[in-house]
Amino acid sequence: MAGRLDVLVCSGGACMSSHSLEVKEELVRQLEAHHLADEVRIVETGCMGPCQYGPLVLVYPEGVLYKNVAAADVAEIVSEHFLKGRVVERLLFRSETADRIIQERRSIPFFEKQMKIVLANCGAINPESIEEYIGAGGYEALGKAVTTMTPEGVVAEMKASGLRGRGGAGFPTGTKWDFVRREKSPKKVVVCNADEGDPGAFMDRAVLEGDPHTVIEGMAIAAYAVGAQHGYVYVRAEYPLAIKRLRSALEAARKLGFLGDRIFETAFSFDIEIRVGAGAFVCGEETALIASLEGRRGVPRIRPPYPSTSGMWQLPTLLNNVETYANVRHIVARGSAWFASIGTEQSKGTKVFALSGNVRNTGLVEVPMGTTIGELIYDIGGGVPNGKRLKAIQTGGPSGGCIPVPYLNTPISYETLKELGAIVGSGGVIVLDEDTCMVNLARYFVEFTASESCGQCVPCRSGLVRMLDILDRITRGEGAMDDLALLEELANTIKRSSLCGLGQTAPNPVLSTLQYFRDEYEEHIRHKTCPAAVCAALFVAPCEASCPAHVDVPAYVAHLSNGDFAKAFDIHMKTNPLPGICGRVCYAFCETKCQRAQIEEPVAIRDLKRSMADYAMEHKLAGPKPRARNGQRVAVVGSGPAGLSCGYFLAQLGYETVLFEALPIAGGTMATGIPTYRLPRDILKADIDRIVRAGVEIKLLSPVEDLDELLADGYGAVFVATGAMKAQTLALGDPLPRGVVTGVDFLKGIHVDGTSEVGAEVVVIGGGNSAIDSARAARRLGAKHVTIAYRRAKADMPASPEEIAEAIEEGVEILDMTSPTGVVGGGRVEGLRCARMAAGPFDASGRRRPVESDQAEIVLPTSMVIVAVGQEATGELLRGAGIEVAKGGLVPVDPVTMSTSRPGIFAGGDATSGPATVVEAIGAGRRAAIAIDRFLGGNGILEPEERVEVATDYDEDAYTQERARAVPPMAAAGTRIRSFAEVRGRFAKEQAIEEARRCLHCDRKQTEDGVCCGSSAGEAAGATTR
């Protein structure tokens, strides 16, 4: 009987491996138990697409899609949804941007921009039922072709459609068919290439598993068009499910007369055999595939002759890819004009992409050609998860290339991707986030192709091994700059002189990463560092590698885990003299790379640091002893983190160091900008006092106007760290009414001048940390209603997610996609006019540029507007010293030595980088101190280079089990907004020790002889840079 509901259970490869069949069996049981077996029909389908969320269950007629369904969820679905009509919300999709639940499949963003032609039946019908295929219009096209069209007519349709080979090369399909059709031979062969081998591509498998008849029908139409009698599908043995379903589909098609003799009672006869390949990558190359089909060693041969003239058994052979055949029946049924209307000028129709890597929605997607890369990654793929930044996308597998972020607006087509040095290829798209090392990525692909080379021709066989060897050396930090030239020469030789497509494209991943990420290769070679903290030979541990100050995190955390806070503190002081400050306001780059996140969450490194710093403060620890004075003097301008760090390390090296500060207080932005609820001033003072005790003299209220005067005064060198204190403004009206201030002035007013005027309604403009700081400070000063207006999407705010969340808790409202256009009010501000924005094309940063929407302007009533849209350096002091200053007031410096174009004058911190973080400034200050020491005749060595080996004698096995990250006490939001008291509490001592033991000690590396030791590799690398 006709069912009331159809329940589709995905049984694509990915869903099956997450136990979708158990879900189906449980469904059968539950339906029996509830006597629904007659009313609800269960259908096993092929891949539905969003593999990340499998097992998937789709319920018709409503079209409700459930994700991550486990067998245990089935009872609830049956009793709630099927019996009572109440959809089970917890299993529905949730929108990434707007926080809402999405019930219907078609409104899920993953599906909205897709257009399914090839995958139309995948996930919609039972692939093992030919009746369902026929019900969905199957074999109509074959019938139409053989009964109403001539072979020439079919070929003409294919030509007119503009379809191009989906296997990778993009050769016009109709032209290829025409070549084979024109061959005068009584026997011809049609072959389907299902030897899908690119890492990260699985569309052919999905089609064969989810809709095998569509391939059979496409091949049969092709056979009719070119005059072939025999067909072969060459499918790799690693796809057993595809083979099984294809086999049963072939039998069903024969039974109903769609294959075999006299198809549709015409003179046309055709049948298909399956040939199972042993999985050599090179057998995807057409001549190698044919050799393998014939039973010979699967190696390519020189073309011509092309298979269209002499292929299988020397017969004219039509060879197309699975996805190409899957398009055929749609073109024949709906006409070439319809197909040609989809896509771009030269790339027609749709393309199936397999999204994988660092993207939220991994899986199979089908989009019209011409869809932009950004739409594919963000709108369909859902963007990069875990708050990481996109670095590049890799397309086309081992034959393809990388496309970096600035090209997100590129429409996808064969031509555009080729122009960028990548290819559409078979459609594998690997999304790469900031944690990807491009050298290591290139190395991975070359390792793959080197091992898959057939070994016949010399450049590919021997050259790829050489390229791999060079890449290996670079990732171990043993590369030389000459290697890059040799690498490029080898790459070009292999590309241009190899026998087949494998060799001719194998160097592409190297050439394309050299094109866009050459600086990363150079980092590995010149500085022996891996910026993404991937190449393990080049760092102590990922946390240390990602720390701009290169604090030896595993060492001090190990001391903490032993309860030795004093030793931990000493280690920290060797690289970072501001532990109290960093224990509170550091961006904690270390935690973003912490490998513990693979078990549950990163180690709470910043909170551990705070415990350690507070201990040091309370016990009045001084840190390592400075060297004896060497009699030389150095001046530092500015007492922010860069100046303090540089001063401290110069004092450690024996210099008499004087810090000149224009303001009445020391600390730079840490004193004037960071609110006390984040950084109490006694903590700031304790860190600064320790530096003073270490021998640095700080002169307050001493603005420096002329660097030459300082040098004339007997200072051997000068370090300029004047920050980026000038607030950027917006043209909101002229003259501006009272009540419009900059974030810089507002925060400085509170912390330096002691003013605290604030309106009842406050609007803050901006999306960075100083906007959040201003908003939260305004709440504390008594503002009833604080709104942050930000022109981009909330997810694009540069402020740290933690701070944003805390601000919201404190009652701050965030109005995103809102761009202020002007103020309302005469004497005193009364409101802020804002345009509502929409997401436009992607900009160079990979975020969507806000463009004006058609929504009407809004006016936010307010008595105070705080403009916190960024700060910049002025560069005045350095310009005065004859040093060239770039745009934005920034001074170009050597990234390692921080030296300016003028010998003896060094600069760092926000003054050279633009607004950045405290810890980056600390790192710059330390590098400058080392370089100044060298400049003044020293050896630039701050501490003995060998690493301290720290024993941690605790039960490692126990601590590598899942164990929640410790959370320090936090003041309640209601209490917080009543004062400027510190919001975040600290760990109790025992809690800190326990948390420190969560560290996995990535610094302990297995050496070649199997001995597990501290950081011999880290030492080797450290010797040259740190």
Binding site: V282, S453, Q456, V458, G463, V465
Partner: protein, 232 residues
């Protein structure tokens, strides 16, 4: 049939249709370096040393047929550089230490290095250290000297018809084998005709007991044989 007009290195040459660029060049005294090519055997274009410039594309001259109006460069800067790099790669993957080799002075690989001005190898040698197979009563194979040109495989298939030699594995570990990778002396299909020895361009396949001076090979035997067979 009408002759085709082609231009090789700027020289206009009349060529018979159906011939390869290599053949036409050789007939006109233009030398193109080769290694896997041997007159009398099917061409596979594997060594890539005979590449020539054809409208900016690099093609193997041994497999590309001439067409009317073709303009071919056999000694362009690019072609020479690529040949040299390919040759370096060949040297690097084996143990080609000439002074220790029985074919020193009678080696095509050595000749090519001289011809192409290859003075050094910029990448490290692999030193594969394969076992020498001396199980055959009269011949031996030292795979460390093998350049995988496949001449032994082809001569054994196409001329002798024994199919003793074949390829095994792939990529950097690809090698020639006898029968199903058994020691040569136990390969039942081998007729001990010695054609593989004569066609081997290096000292990889050699006669046992031959001194350096005695170890001279006669690869042109194959062309003689095939021509005589064709005449019947």
């Amino acid at each position: 049939m009408d002759k085709l007009r082609v231009k090789i290195d700027g020289r206009t040459i009349l060529a018979a249709p159906g011939k390869t660029i290599l053949e036409v060049a050789a007939e006109n005294g233009i030398h193109i370096p080769t290694l896997c090519h041997l007159d009398g055997l099917r061409d596979v274009g594997a060594c890539r040393l005979c590449i020539v410039d054809l409208y900016g594309q690099l093609v193997t001259s041994c497999t590309t047929k001439v067409a009317d109006g073709m303009e071919i460069g056999t000694q362009t800067e690019t072609v020479r550089a690529y040949r040299r790099t390919i040759l370096e790669l060949l040297f690097a993957e084996g143990n080609h230490v000439c002074s220790f080799c029985v074919s020193n002075g009678g080696c095509e690989l050595q000749d090519l290095a001289c011809e192409l001005d290859m003075h050094s190898v910029r990448v490290p040698y692999t030193y594969r250290r394969e076992r020498v197979d001396a199980t055959h009563p009269r011949f031996l194979i030292d795979r460390d000297r093998c350049v995988l040109c496949g001449r032994c495989v082809r001569v054994c298939q196409e001329v002798e018809g024994a199919h003793t030699w074949g390829f095994a594995e792939r990529g950097a570990t690809a090698r020639v084998i006898t029968d199903l990778a058994v020691p040569w002396g136990t390969a039942e299909s081998c007729t001990s005709c010695g054609k593989c020895v004569e066609v081997c361009p290096t000292g990889a396949i050699a006669r046992k007991g031959a001194s350096n001076a005695e170890m001279r090979k006669h690869p042109d035997l194959v062309a003689e044989l095939t021509e005589r067979r064709a005449r019947g």
